[in-house]
């Protein structure tokens, strides 16, 4: 049976992204929608309509199905997360793997997955540990209290990890870190745009340098690979580097901050993790599920008529898969509202599902594990310097997080 918009009355006009409650819980509307049906039609604030996938099983089914396109440039794509300017920019640049489909996507992704294997990432572990220790050394060296953990740790760690991945020389680390921080901070639009332009110019130049003087890094290996295939495409490498930066920086940073908030506000959970670092990997999975910071980035467009989850979706219709709703679906997770570091559930969708499932997921996992282990080991008395409910949560952003996180010890 197909539900239509008229059936869902009060839920029409759902403003996306929706403000979370409490501040950790998903918006109330999520639960109402999920209880109504695993897939509903909603009206977007922009005026259009889209299907809203609320159930865990249905979310997996949609994301793995090749009849749904990721190409945000197509007419009818449910674009509540992109403004007109970003869309124009998207259309003027080479397509990114994030927005590709089928064989084209597979080729683009296969060119780089060798860089993100579990084994290759394990080799990066000592370097990431050094980076984390370095910023915690700096925290411990200052007398200043409180310290804003976002600036002191959450933002710089993933920025330097991406430097490592891309082969940004040491002398440029300060530049890279300051511009990446600027790009995601609450400064003026002009300042953010300037940081963006400076970084883009920098990466362009970095790749030119690596074309003549290759190093031992992802970009140099991509250059060699493309040359071997006879197609050195400078512009596509600039786009790739930028994709890794934009997909991997703010996400990981926000997850570091929220993870710390989640653990500090659940002291018994934190105590369990501190007592046995072997629990950290599972705690990371649970924090990823609980916060699902990238909710809503998994939108798609139907390219054919599809019968799925009890509804008939027509070619050309938009579909928004809510990973947060899926990750709080009681059919898939017992007591989903409980943060339980010993839940042992890895079937959450915080990194998506299907062919686009996060390319950097195992890097992100490792960064989070190292940060939480090291931070609570080296600063065991760490605590929030403001009540959790007063923190400036990023209620209006596509990627959930906190703007500031004052901590003390």
């Amino acid at each position: 049976m197909t539900k239509n918009v008229a059936d869902i009355g009060e839920l029409t006009g759902l403003q996306l992204p929706v403000e979370r409650g409490c501040p950790f819980d998903p918006p109330d509307a999520y639960e109402r929608l999920r209880e109504q049906a695993p897939i509903n039609k909603i009206r977007l604030a922009s005026g259009g309509e889209a299907w809203w996938v609320a159930g865990h099983e249905e979310a997996r089914a949609v994301l793995v199905d090749g009849r749904f396109s990721s190409d945000k440039r197509k007419d009818g794509f449910p674009l509540f997360t992109l403004d007109a300017a970003t869309l124009r920019q998207l259309r003027s640049q080479p397509p990114l793997m994030l927005g590709m489909d089928g064989a084209e996507h597979s080729a683009a992704r296969r060119a780089v997955i060798g860089e993100f294997t579990v084994r290759r990432l394990a080799a990066l572990r000592p370097r990431i540990q050094d980076i984390v220790d370095h910023f915690i050394d700096d925290m411990l060296a200052t007398d200043q209290r409180p310290v804003d953990l976002v600036q002191a740790l959450s933002l710089p760690v993933p920025s330097l990890v991406i430097c490592e991945l891309l082969g940004v020389p040491y002398t440029d680390h300060d530049f890279f870190q300051s511009r990446t921080t600027m790009m995601v901070s609450r400064t003026s639009l002009e300042e953010r745009q300037r940081a963006f332009a400076e970084l883009r110019a920098y990466i362009d130049d970095l790749i030119t340098r690596k074309e003549s003087e290759p190093g031992d890094d992802l970009l140099s290996r991509q250059i060699a690979r493309q040359r071997q295939e006879g197609t050195l495409d400078h512009a596509s490498l600039v786009s790739l580097a930028f994709l890794l930066l934009t997909a991997g920086h703010e996400t990981t940073a926000n997850m570091i901050s929220l993870g710390v908030v989640g653990l500090l506000t659940h002291p018994e959970q934190l105590a369990a993790v501190k007592a046995d670092p072997d629990r950290t990997p599972m705690a990371v999975e649970e924090l990823l599920r609980y916060f699902t910071i990238a909710d809503g980035v998994t939108s798609r467009l139907a390219t054919e008529d599809v019968q799925i989850g009890g509804v008939g979706i027509k070619a050309g219709e938009g579909i928004i898969v809510s990973m947060l709703s899926a990750n709080w679906d009681p059919a898939a997770f017992v007591d989903p509202g409980e943060l339980d570091v010993e839940r042992g559930a890895r079937h959450h969708l915080a990194f998506g599902f299907g062919p686009h499932q996060c390319l950097g997921q195992n890097l992100a996992r490792m960064e989070l594990q190292i940060v939480f282990d090291t931070l609570f080991r080296r600063i065991p008395t760490l605590g929030l310097a403001a009540p959790a409910e007063d923190l400036p949560f990023k209620t209006d952003a596509v990627i959930y997080g906190v703007h500031e996180l004052p901590v003390t010890w």
Binding site: L63, V64, S106, R109, R110, V112, I113, G114, E115, F116, T117, V118, R119, R346, H347, G352, F353, G354, P355, H356, Q357, C358, L359, Q361, N362
Partner: protein
């Protein structure tokens, strides 16, 4: 139990390697490689879990 990995479907997420490194590996290019296809009971339970977690449905159970 016997298991099958479809290297054309694999998207290199590494979920299987995280779940049961005694059975699953990734080659240089990040694509799944089976280390063995005859699994003992303990590995079989883990491998079943990997089949569920695999984001591209590249893994299947051939024989219980």
């Amino acid at each position: 139990m016997r298991i099958k990995a479809d290297t054309h479907l694999c998207v290199g997420s590494g979920q299987c390697v995280l779940t049961e490194p005694a059975v699953f590996d990734q080659d240089e290019d990040g694509i799944v490689a089976l280390l063995t296809d005859h699994l003992d009971d303990q590995s079989a339970a883990q491998a079943r879990h990997a089949v569920i977690l695999c984001p591209s449905r590249a893994l299947s159970i051939l024989q219980e």
